[in-house]
Structures are given as structure tokens and as C-alpha cells.
Symmetry: C2
Subunit: 295 residues, 2 copies
């Protein structure tokens, strides 16, 4: 049976962008619940500057506090060598680096050019590989940039190809501001797969304009089989102006099961987890399937 | 340029399913604003039993109260001859009848079998045609029924074909409970187009599980070019358990324009109208594009 690899982003990309500071105990329980749902890959922590992103300051405690489940990869975002060392010390199974397809977004987000970001990643990848740890690469703004507007597919392909040649085993293509639509997504993927094999590519879409599932469906039709999502659509209040939560895992799983694609995820449990975490955070549930699901 | 015909359902299928009783003056302003947005087809009223659906009891007043805009079709739902006569007296440009693909849904919704519903429509269609008024046909539960579960594409094709042969010029295929996913939608359309020409078919999808845009994109890829939607996703509180609003017009227009398909609708004005009506109804805006749009 045809299947899709899901990468659950809620504990990291989700909580990192929530206004509330979430206690480590809740984060740990969230990760454990997600593993119990059947996710085999969970991004659980981020070793970024605690001054810039206080939400992730307790990442070491979270990563070491998780009751590990056999067969699940617990990964962490590591922008530099210092972050990587902390992630390795805390027992991250895999790490991730991030840059952008847009120069101006890269400058504003991580204070360097895209080329400089790639140079910074070289020693991160080298040390990670010495320790036998795989590295995932994120490319932001692949379908639009808040400063530059439309992004040329060739620009995305260039950055994705560079990350792949640097040694990233998987490249996750982020529609950071959620402005993409299906034909643009297909054009972008067509350019990127000239540089990176399709089996190494993930779609990381935000649902800001409600387009994420349509875009994912378009890329599934092209053969893409790795999708990033966040339980309950965590990441930014879903009802605020310009909210930019990740596409909700529940909606993605509903789509995939409807398409006859296997995920390994139990949707009943996932819906329960999304409702639980929404309650913990005092937020509306950002998943339509999560709100409507009745078993 | 390739274009899509949009059928705006907010004033009828939307408001009919809102808990609040909306004053006629607001309904009239809503219809006028939607015409100003560029919609050329607006379902504005419903001549059903006011005991069963009190929200629509003022339909004559609404339809006669609208300042008409040249080139816009103002339609009304008319389940029977009595409704048709009232709709014609109030100046409806076009009318619509509705049945279902599911026997049990038909029984519970309009208290007769599907075959009996078709018999009832025959005199409605005859009188409408004598008056030179076109009739649209709705088929509910085309991708799932709350009582019967999955619905066979052949069952949908049978009812759609019967409505078409009765004289309906357009058949609108409703995923009433929003449970459909793209491959099921494509299979359903493939069966129906054996009975009804594709150019006569509309997709009427509810976004209960967040699947509507993915399903619409799948059918657009098959060549379908008529879509029903509701401004602000009107129809049932969008955040209640099992809410079943129509897919939001703003999200559909965003998708279509992104695909390079012309709609004639001004998205800035549409977003403003969605925000206005949400405020009038004291409800959250059910459109993600409506919440995020910044011009």
C-alpha cells in the first residue's frame, strides 16, 4: 500500500509560534501523546537563542524528559554548532537546519545572506554526520515572501539543491506565509526535483489562506510522499489577522486516509490529542477535522 | 481566459443555517454588496415552509427589496408549486429544486423518497419553463450521508441524470456533510458526467473537515467550471462541533485567481463584505483568506 511519511511539527514549529509560554511538562506530554498516535517522526525541540525564542528555552529538558518510544525519531532544530552540541547532548535522533529561498527573508529571519547561511551549516552537517546523526534542511518562503512577494521556482531549486549537496538527507519546502496555490506549488516542485530526488522532498505548508490541503493534494498527485504538519494547526492564533499556523495534522491525515494513503497515525487518538493540547493552551482548535470528528 | 462561474450561496444556504434570525434589511444589504463584489449569480431567498425554516420567512420582502444590478441573476429555492408561485411573484430570475442521492437523507430532509421528490418537481419545472424561468437542481449527500455513510457514484449519477432529463439546466452536486476527499470526488464526477454534460455541473462543497478546496481543485482539474460557495463560510457556526458551513467564497476566489481562472469577483470587496456580515451576525469569520487578507 502506498504511504506518506508525516513529520509532526506541533511541539516545535507549532509551540514556537504560540503566544503562550508552555510548561515543559505539557510539551513532554504532547510529544509522548503524538508518539502514541503513531507519528514516527516528531520535531520536539529547537536549540535556538532563548533570547530570541523564549518558548524553546527548555528544549534540553523536554528532549531528555520524553519517555522514548521505540522506532520514533525525535528531532531538533539546530541553527549552528552550539545548538547542535546541545541537541546531541540532549539525545536528539536527528537535527535540522533552516534557510530561505528569499534573500530578504533570510536577512530578517537569521541575519545573514542565503549563501552565508549555507556556509554556517557546513560544520553543523560535518559534526552531525561524524556522530551518525542525519540532518534535515528547511527552505522557507518557497511560494511567497512577505518582503519580496513571488519567489521564482529556480531560486527555490538553487537553495534546495545546495542543502542537498551539503548533505541534508531530506529537504522540507516551506510555504511560510501560506500564499501558494496548487499550480504554483507544482511549478515549484517541478523545478526543485531537477536538483533533489523527489523521495527526499517534503512539503511544509501553512494554512493562512486555507490553501494548504489543495496544495498538498496537488503535490501528492506529483508523487511527493513526505508532509510536515502540526496537531491542531498549532502555531499562531488561528483566528487572528494574518495567523500563520502549520496545516493541521488532523486535516492532513483525514485527506491522506481518504486518498487511500497509509500514514500509521490513528486519527481518533490524534483528534483527542489536538483537543487536549488546545485546551491546555486555551486556544481554539485550529483543525476543522479536529472540531468536527465524531469517531 | 479560462473562467469559473461562481454561485454565491451566503444569503440562502448560509443564513438558512445560521442560528441567528437576520433582519431583512441586513439580508438585502448583503445581497447588494455581493452583487457589487462582482457575483453574477446570487441565491437570495428560499420559499420553504416558514415553520420549518423561520430564517427564510421574509424571502418575498428580501427579493422585492433588493436594488437590482444589471446582469445579476437573483435566484430562490422553491421546493414546490406554492413556493415557485411566491418566488415568481417576488421576481426571482431563476429557481432551484433540491433532492438527495441518499434515500434516508431525502426521507428525513423532505419527507419523501427520491423518486417522489422528482415527481413533485415535474409541475414546478413545467410552470417555471412556461414563465421562461430556468431551474437549477441540487443533489445533496453526493459524497456521504449522515445516515447511510458512503454513497455510490452510480446513485448520484442516477439522481443527477433524472433532474437533468426533467429539465434542470444545471445540477449542483452537494457534499452536504463535507466528508468527501479528492479521489472520491473525482470518481463521483466521472459517474455523473456519463448522465449530465460537464458544463451543466456545479460543485457545492461544505468545508466541515477542511477538505473542500482540495476537492474543488481536483474537480477543476477534471474541467468542472461552476462552484457554489458562501461569503465568510456562512452556514452553521464554523467553530462548533460538526459545523457544516459552505466553503468560504473568499478562499475559493483566492484559489481560482491563483490558478489563473477568472471569476469576475473583486477579492478586496469580497473580503470586506465577509468581515461586514460576520460582524453583523456576531460570528467569527469562517474564511481563512477573509481573516488573513491584507489587500
Amino acid at each position: 500500500m502506498d504511504s506518506v511519511k508525516l513529520v509532526e511539527m506541533g511541539p516545535r514549529d507549532g509551540l514556537q509560534n504560540e503566544p503562550a509560554l508552555v510548561p515543559a511538562a505539557i510539551k513532554i506530554e504532547l510529544v509522548e501523546r503524538l508518539a502514541d498516535c503513531g507519528f514516527a517522526y516528531i520535531e520536539a525541540a529547537s536549540f535556538v537563542s532563548p533570547r530570541r525564542i523564549p518558548q524553546m528555552a527548555d528544549s534540553s529538558g523536554v528532549l531528555t524528559g520524553i519517555r522514548r518510544r521505540e522506532g520514533v525519531v525525535y528531532s531538533a532544530l539546530t541553527p549552528n554548532l552550539q545548538g547542535l552540541q546541545a541537541a546531541l547532548a540532549a539525545g536528539a535522533d536527528e537535527v535540522a537546519v533552516f534557510t530561505a529561498a528569499s534573500e530578504r527573508f533570510c536577512q530578517r529571519n537569521i541575519n545573514c545572506s542565503v549563501a552565508e547561511s549555507l556556509e554556517r551549516f557546513a560544520p553543523v552537517l560535518q559534526l552531525a554526520h561524524e556522530r551518525g546523526v542525519r540532518v534535515r534542511g528547511y527552505v522557507s518562503t518557497v511560494l511567497g515572501c512577505p518582503y519580496e512577494g513571488n519567489i521564482a521556482p529556480a531560486a527555490v531549486a538553487r537553495v534546495a539543491g545546495a542543502l542537498y549537496r551539503l548533505g541534508c538527507h531530506e529537504i522540507s519546502l516551506g510555504d511560510t506565509i501560506g500564499t501558494g496555490t496548487p499550480r504554483a506549488a507544482v511549478a515549484m516542485l517541478s523545478a526543485v526535483r531537477q536538483e533533489v530526488p523527489l523521495v527526499r522532498l517534503a512539503a511544509h505548508f501553512h494554512d493562512t489562506y486555507g490553501q494548504a490541503l489543495a496544495n498538498l493534494y496537488a503535490l501528492l498527485e506529483q508523487g511527493l510522499r513526505i508532509i510536515d504538519s502540526s496537531v491542531a494547526g498549532l502555531g499562531g492564533c488561528p483566528y487572528a489577522h494574518g495567523a500563520t499556523g502549520n496545516v493541521a495534522s488532523e486535516d492532513v491525515v483525514y485527506l491522506l486516509h481518504g486518498l487511500g494513503l497509509e500514514t500509521g497515525v490513528d486519527l481518533d487518538r490524534l483528534v483527542a490529542t489536538g483537543r487536549w493540547v488546545s485546551l491546555q493552551l486555551g486556544r481554539e482548535n485550529g483543525s476543522k477535522t479536529g472540531r468536527a470528528w465524531n469517531g
